[in-house]
């Protein structure tokens, strides 16, 4: 695999040719804000928070899906990008009914934490207060669409790690909704294995374990590290004995 040399925020870094800007930056200690990317899952560029400026390109590019290139010059933290990111976070808050103080992951939510880090102290646009369902038909877990930011981490972990593809996205734009199977209640899903991976990767309190109340839930993603490492080392491929 060939190596690429590029500049990120004034620093010269090297990366493998197939790495994304996000991953190359991460390896060099440069943290680009994100809500949909999660190491070990395929990327979707759904949240738009990792948008970066690339010299010579008019449009902003999502760092999680743009590959590095030789002599590329990338800026990840300009005042314009900071303003865009603040706006995205505010739009997420305005779009659905996020009430941090009574949420299961209060204090450990990625949306809540990122909002604070980016200096979002109020929401400039009008809250939409949409009527959204809460599905608690599953015996162990629940999904509260009020807290969903449509990052699709649940969809991706279910498809590419668990291999069940229970979750998908129905509808478009503000009417988008995460659904199980073809829109059946989660508890009646024929494909769900009840593994709980979706619950653990969810950045907010949208997917939660039953029996948890305000601020009690903490997400555990250690399984993902384990699975990714095992996959990279091919631990599941039985060695064929020479005949």
């Amino acid at each position: 695999m060939s190596v690429r040399t590029l500049e990120v925020d004034g620093r010269t870094i090297t990366a493998m040719a197939d790495q994304t800007i996000f991953s190359a930056a991460w390896d060099n200690g440069i943290r680009i804000p994100r809500l949909c990317h999660l190491g070990g899952l395929p990327d979707a560029a759904a949240c738009r928070l990792c948008l970066v400026e690339i010299e010579g390109q008019k449009r902003l590019q999502s760092a999680c899906t743009t590959k590095v290139a030789e002599d590329m010059v990338v800026r990840t933290d300009t005042p314009a990008l900071q303003a865009h990111r603040k706006l995205i976070i505010e739009l997420l808050f305005a779009e659905r009914n996020h009430v941090c103080s009574v949420c299961v992951v209060n204090g450990a939510c990625e949306l809540q934490t990122l909002a604070a880090e980016l200096g979002v102290d109020h929401i400039r646009m009008k809250p939409q207060y949409p009527k959204l369902p809460v599905d608690v038909s599953h015996h162990r877990f629940g999904i509260d669409h009020n807290r969903c930011i449509l990052c699709t981490r649940c969809v991706r972990v279910c498809d590419s790690v668990e291999g069940a593809h229970t979750w998908d996205v129905a509808g478009r734009g503000r009417n988008s909704l995460i659904i199980s199977d073809l829109g059946e209640p989660w508890g009646e899903s024929a494909s769900c294995t009840s593994c709980g991976k979706c619950v653990q990767v969810c950045p907010t309190g949208a997917l939660f374990s039953k029996g948890k109340t305000v601020a009690e839930m903490r997400k555990d993603r250690s399984f993902l590290q384990y699975i990714v490492t095992a996959r990279e080392k091919r631990l599941w491929i039985a060695e064929r004995k020479p005949r």
Binding site: V102, G119, H122
Partner: protein, 177 residues
């Protein structure tokens, strides 16, 4: 130089932000040295005074009294702070915005075996607004201090900065938490 005049107001909130304000404990005495606390629900002052330099407003705008008071407070205050999540986002107070106001009243009063009817008539209870509003929806807000509630240490630093004529250095405060 005369002392800055500081006020705190309680609109549609649970008073938790004021409980946190009371958690300043002995620093309340320091605050009284730095500013003239001219109006607050923890003192018995009936009318919101004129010429207030800094006002912290807890709570969302949920009824007609809140709406009237918010406008009056804005007129009489130099710096207006949305104090805590309810004033900033509507928070728990605005949970009822998912329903219409008649259904909310029915649930609380008519369906309740204890109360038996919505209290009505002038001066009994203020009429609820159709939707709970954020402070910024009804008046201009100068600063926002998130938290449910904001911790006492943060309140103190924030207020001391404002009294000193500085932009509060408090940043990165989470909603909720």
């Amino acid at each position: 130089m005369s002392k800055k005049r500081l006020a705190t107001v309680w609109l549609g909130g649970c008073s938790g932000c004021h409980m946190s304000f009371l958690d300043l404990d002995e620093r309340l005495l320091d605050l009284a040295e730095l500013a003239d606390v001219c109006y607050t629900p923890i003192a018995d002052v009936k009318e919101f005074p004129h010429n207030v330099d800094i006002t912290l407003v807890e709570g969302a705008v949920a009824n007609e009294d809140h709406l009237r008071d918010a406008k009056k407070i804005r007129e009489r205050s130099g710096i207006l702070v949305a104090f805590g999540d309810c004033a900033i986002t509507g928070n728990v107070t605005a949970l009822r915005n998912l329903f219409n106001v008649e259904d909310v009243l029915s649930r609380a009063y008519r369906d309740s075996m204890i109360v038996g009817g919505v209290p009505e008539g002038d001066g009994i209870v203020p009429k609820l607004l159709e939707k709970v509003l954020r402070l910024q929806d009804v008046v201009a807000v100068d600063y926002f201090l998130p938290g449910c509630p904001p911790p006492a240490d943060v309140i103190f630093q924030f207020v001391v900065d404002l009294i000193g004529g500085k932009t509060p250095a408090v940043t990165g405060r989470k909603f909720g938490s």
